[in-house]
């Protein structure tokens, strides 16, 4: 099933499991299957233990892997993670 077929919002909801246990949320900023890009933002406002959330690299890796497994394409996944200080 492609991300387009299942609906981007639905795909993102399935990914919430990665972070919502710690009180974080993934927000869909942009989903453009034509351009092969999914842009998410990690909302940490309700998180009490920042160190408890999946580390940035692991989170981005798992999200990218999950999305690409649902697609036949090399969709680019961007996660704006406020814990990253390198911009």
């Amino acid at each position: 099933m492609t991300v387009e077929a299942m609906g981007l919002a639905e795909a993102v909801e399935e990914l919430q499991v990665l972070v919502n246990g710690d009180g974080a949320r993934l927000e869909l900023i942009e989903g453009d299957t034509g351009a092969g890009r999914l842009h998410l933002r990690l909302d940490l406002d309700a998180v009490e233990c920042i160190d408890c959330v999946l580390p940035p690299d692991a989170l981005a890796d798992i999200i990218g892997d999950s999305v690409r497994r649902r697609t036949a394409s090399d969709i680019e996944v961007i996660v704006d993670d406020p814990r990253r200080t390198d911009g």
Binding site: L18, G21, C52, V53, P55, I62, A72
Partner: protein
């Protein structure tokens, strides 16, 4: 329109289910994987170690060197490899936050890949994350034993009582024979 072939490997994640069952624990070494995070998990594993001895098993404690982040430290740990080599059954935990679930599952999957019957211990809140992480590696039906959430923040006596109450459930998850 014409058929063309993908230049990429087919996505064929091997489905590996839950891994082997533990059977009788008598005479076996049961590894308990601890972490750097949760005092409550130390108390639970203390209680379970005593209970395992009563079952005729030998508990073997191992504390992961990292609580979060440093995958190389885990992968490169000769101590972890020795731990896996020394045990017949694995109990890994505690899945109780994103980071600690990542590493508890990582280490549990390493045990499964060594064909060691393994149970993943998670608080209720983090079961889905644990299953998602395991499924990514092809283990689509891992044995999970759930503890109540929140566990951390309770009094020590309460946590130890929870551990004792959950021991039978733990053995059931491992499909042990008593």
């Amino acid at each position: 329109m014409t058929v063309v072939l993908s230049p990429r490997p087919p996505v064929t994640v091997q489905r590996r289910g839950a891994g082997a069952v533990a059977g009788s624990l008598k005479g076996k070494k049961v590894g308990l994987r601890r972490d750097q995070f949760w005092r409550s998990w130390d108390w639970v594993t203390d209680e379970w170690a005593d209970a395992l001895r009563a079952e005729g098993a030998t508990p073997v404690m191992w504390r992961a060197p990292v609580g979060k982040g440093d995958k190389q430290a885990v992968d490169g740990s000769g101590e972890f490899a020795a731990f896996l080599d020394s045990i017949d059954v694995a109990i890994t935990g505690l899945c109780n936050c994103g980071s600690c679930t990542l590493w508890a599952v990582h280490d549990g999957l390493a045990a499964l890949k060594h064909d060691i019957p393994t149970v993943f211990v998670s608080t209720e809140h983090f079961e889905r994350l644990a299953r998602t992480l395991a499924d990514k590696e092809g283990f689509d039906d891992i044995r999970i034993h759930l503890l109540p959430y929140p566990l951390e923040g309770r009094l020590e006596d309460d946590v130890r009582q929870v551990a004792r109450e959950h021991f039978d459930g733990l053995l059931a998850a491992l499909e042990t024979v008593r």
